[in-house]
Amino acid sequence: MKKLYLVLAALIIASMVLSACGTAPSAEDCASPDVFCVGLVTDVGKINDKSFNQSAWEGVQKAQTDGVADVVQYIETTDAKDYAKNIAQFGDAGYDAIVTVGFALGEATVAAAATYPDIHFIGVDQFQAETTEGVSGLNFPEDNAGFLVGALAAMMSESHKIGAVCGTDVVPPVWRFGEGYKAGAAYADAQNGTTTEVFVVYHSDVGFDKTFTDPEWGAQTAKSMMDQGADAIFGCGGITGNGAITAAAQAGAYAIGVDTDQYLTLPEAAPRMLSSAMKLITPGVAKLIAAVKDGTIESGNVFGDAGYAPFHDLEASVPAEVKTAMETINTGLLDGSIKTDVPPVKP
């Protein structure tokens, strides 16, 4: 037992020495009006998910580099019951804007807005059925983005078979991407008199926590589609989709990304990256944060931009008439002359 005490004593001394070297915590006082602080609470998931959590966080960081926000901080949620607590962590610290990511946080966000009337909340992917003071829901027309790349894939496909590998259709944005993709392909067919077979596969057979993080399944599914002749694969659904994109690019098919311009995030697929169905979360979040600081923010629903990414390396192989058609469709979608006819939620 003597040895035990020696060990303990040594530990205590060591801890004292070490703590003296430790850096002090962030001294900035978010409660003061001079310091503009932005906090972000993730859905159950990682901040580096290469998907909506990460995009939103990059938006917050962008606000910092743009000089809008002075302090930015995030908290990863590990369990749904912590939503309120995690938001309160920022609320109690006197943050000025809090970004909550994902539909699941919608209720906690609305509730927190009542508790912290001085703080403005930005809810990414949170559709506001009725306006709550202090909450702005940032939503995106994913079906439009899906429509664009669907039309593009149908026009570029030589085999007239195209595929989409998605996360779970339980999540509405994912489902809207998939449905938009189909609608876009059908639109292109109608325009060009072609018949394109569209495979859309969702990874609904696993748990909610795994459906977006299974690249191996995505890759295998993409390969199966290519076996059936598909030559353009749209990967929609986080990491699972990334698996499909990489597999498609390796097999020499056209790869289509999602959310951001994945030409930049998936270099290994870059040479075959045709485009990406973009849902511009990062600029959307940054823009809203800036609006909070200006005081120009409006509560209720705010719609962000959706579009398609540049062709990058494949610029030369996309025919001019396809490029023109894409511009026409994009304009049509924006002015409402073309409709995707995709409902907001899976019926």
Binding site: L4, E76, F208
Partner: protein, 375 residues
């Protein structure tokens, strides 16, 4: 042992055995904290700030304490579930699935029963009913595994893992289909909110800690009483320690194995039911991530003793709850908590390592918790 001295020496004995049996878990936690600290430093974090954040976030305020209790509630139930199975010689890896089933059926009763009946129920009937149905669902789910083990010899470890997957798919199926909240504002896979009459009230105004926490403590006491004071507990322990002797002693081993698993599943189901009725008021997909494995760690750390399980559950709850504050202060990844828990479990399981480091002598024989596949 003289009779007159017995009571005082008994108290001393209990104290002594308590210190002795908590020494190794304590040293294991200490070692894990040190090892974790070293890893944090290596990868560029500050372990002292991290630990400060953990303690502040879990114990630093009324609210923090309340949240720790909120976290501890399902941990106690799930930990007891695994511990009870251990006592009966069974390894229940499937607490996760049983918990999900319990939550699903508890919420079903919670939101749908008044509609089926056509009238509202008083809390005194509705709430217990919701909890009990969840409990039974978990019990049946585990009971299948218990019966397979008892009557066909199918090993419970593999079967509970398989049942976890089946539970997951079943829950997905239900929550996306017939049990999905059909209200236009909802888009994700979750049930409607349960009726007010099926909700557990909170203990203090403004804090989330609810009476379910107290129920957890009561159930822990009940399990202790069941195991040590009743004939059924004697049967469960005998089957756990020596099934051959149990059979010889006239105990119906197959029934006891099945029952143990049913009870274990009921406790896990209770964890889910209490989460629904006391905290979330609905069940949604992805709500339980990793309770099953945490529960194993809790049961092991608590040496499968109900009091130990309660303490271990509170420790784990404090770690999980304090993680928010820790992240806020240091921006260290939450996975740190999982890592710490893994180290604690490692040092508890391999107590020889801890004994070696601190030169603590081993006493008594090794307790066999599980057996091989057994054909």
């Amino acid at each position: 042992m003289q009779a007159e001295k017995q009571s005082s020496s008994l108290a001393r004995q209990i104290l002594k055995s308590a210190t002795e049996s908590s020494l190794i878990p304590f040293l294991a936690i200490l070692t894990a904290v040190i090892v974790g600290g070293i890893i944090i430093s290596i990868v560029g974090g500050n372990p002292f700030q991290a630990y400060r954040g953990l303690i502040e976030g879990s114990l630093g305020s009324q609210k923090a304490l309340s949240e720790t209790a909120v976290w501890a509630t399902p941990y106690i139930f799930a930990g007891l579930a695994v511990a009870l199975a251990f006592k009966g010689g069974l390894f229940n890896i499937g607490a996760e699935g049983q918990l999900a089933l319990g939550a699903v059926f508890s919420s079903l009763i919670g939101y749908a029963l008044p509609g089926w009946l056509g009238f509202d129920l008083p809390t005194i009937i509705h709430l217990p009913l919701a909890i009990i149905v969840g409990m039974i669902a978990g019990g049946i789910w585990a009971g299948v595994v218990g019966a397979l083990k008892a009557y066909t010899g199918g090993h419970e470890v593999i079967n509970t893992i398989m049942m976890n997957y089946i539970a997951l798919n079943t829950t997905s199926f239900l929550l996306n289909g017939i049990m999905k909240d059909k209200s236009p504002t909802n888009v994700i896979a979750r049930t409607p909110m349960i009726a007010d009459s099926a909700r557990i009230p909170t203990i203090f105004e403004g804090l989330r800690v609810h009476w379910g926490f107290l129920l957890a403590l009561l159930v822990a006491f009940f399990i202790w009483w069941l195991l040590t004071k009743t004939t059924l507990g004697f049967e469960i322990r005998t089957v756990g320690l020596n099934p051959d002797a149990a059979k010889y002693a006239g105990i119906n081993v197959k029934r006891t194995i099945t029952l143990t698993m049913v009870f274990s599943g009921m406790l896990a189901g209770l964890a889910g039911a209490i989460e629904v009725t006391g905290l979330n008021f609905r069940h949604e997909l992805g709500f339980s991530i990793g309770y099953g494995f945490d529960a194993i760690a809790i049961a092991l750390l608590g040496k499968s003793h109900p009091l130990g399980v309660v303490l271990a559950a509170i420790l784990f709850a404090a770690m999980r709850n304090g993680a928010t504050r820790m992240q806020f202060i240091t921006q260290l990844p939450v996975d740190l908590i999982s890592m710490l828990q893994a180290f604690i479990l490692l040092f508890v399981a391999a107590d020889a390592i801890v004994r070696y480091i601190y030169r603590v002598k081993s006493k008594g024989e090794r307790v066999v918790l599980t057996r091989g596949w057994g054909g």
